[in-house]
Symmetry: C2
Subunit: 112 residues, 2 copies
DNA sequence: AAACATACATAATTTTCTTATGCATAAAAA
DNA sequence: TTTTTATGCATAAGAAAATTATGTATGTTT
């Protein structure tokens, strides 16, 4: 399903980012949104998603609101204030990480 | 020590990349090179590095040559032919992953 | 009737780290 | 001169975060 091992560690950052943009989302919706945004490249498995959501909630970054739609239960998540802060720092961390990796993969030739 | 959880999964790709550029390197040298290239951002721990090298060797991507220098033993690693191929595909995977992540973090606004 | 989509959840397992420890030599600092 | 730091390898225990496999339930499509 999911593409690479590289994905490891970035899931919670992705969740926080999507919730910051969409106010509230439910689990299944997140998997579909990620699939869409990545043109099918990244497929979040349920076994990864739900534990990640529960952890973020336990850490106080998300709050939950249940809603019944078409006789199906949805668990909507939205960022708390702490979650909004956390999102900022995790995105920064992710961008710094990407720069770091690119410093190895595409090293700038040393001046000398 | 090491910076982030995001790093997870990228170590073996980093090793293959460095060996492709430097012909042969020993473990300690790899940790120093990564520290240098990333300005101290990424510090590979020995507990991660050595098992990773052993695994790449077991998979047939690296070959070993022992050498004694200043009465200290060094284990030089270099890419095999299979390792050279593997490096290409792993770097491609890494670059695709970075693009994918950026598609989420910096989504292009949909035309509409 | 069977398969697929929607929607949640968890358990067992695997992968890949961190942390801690061990051995050994050599140089630098206290 | 003793201790710390650097060089160089290695492995074991534990943690984190996935994958894979299930399970439950409803609704739609084939």
């Amino acid at each position: 399903m999911s593409n690479s091992k590289l994905y490891k560690g970035s899931l919670s950052t992705i969740i926080l980012k999507l919730l910051a943009e969409n106010n509230k989302m439910y689990g299944y919706e997140i998997t579909q949104k990620v699939k869409e945004l990545t043109q099918g490249e990244l497929n979040i498995t349920e076994g990864a998603l739900y534990p990640a959501l529960h952890k973020l909630e336990a850490e106080g970054f998300l709050e939950v609101e249940m809603q019944r739609v078409d006789n199906r239960l949805r668990k909507y998540y939205k960022l708390t204030q702490a979650g909004t802060k956390e999102k900022v720092s995790r995105i920064e961390e992710l961008e710094r990480f990407i720069e770091t990796i690119q410093g190895i993969v595409n090293p700038k030739p040393s001046l000398g």
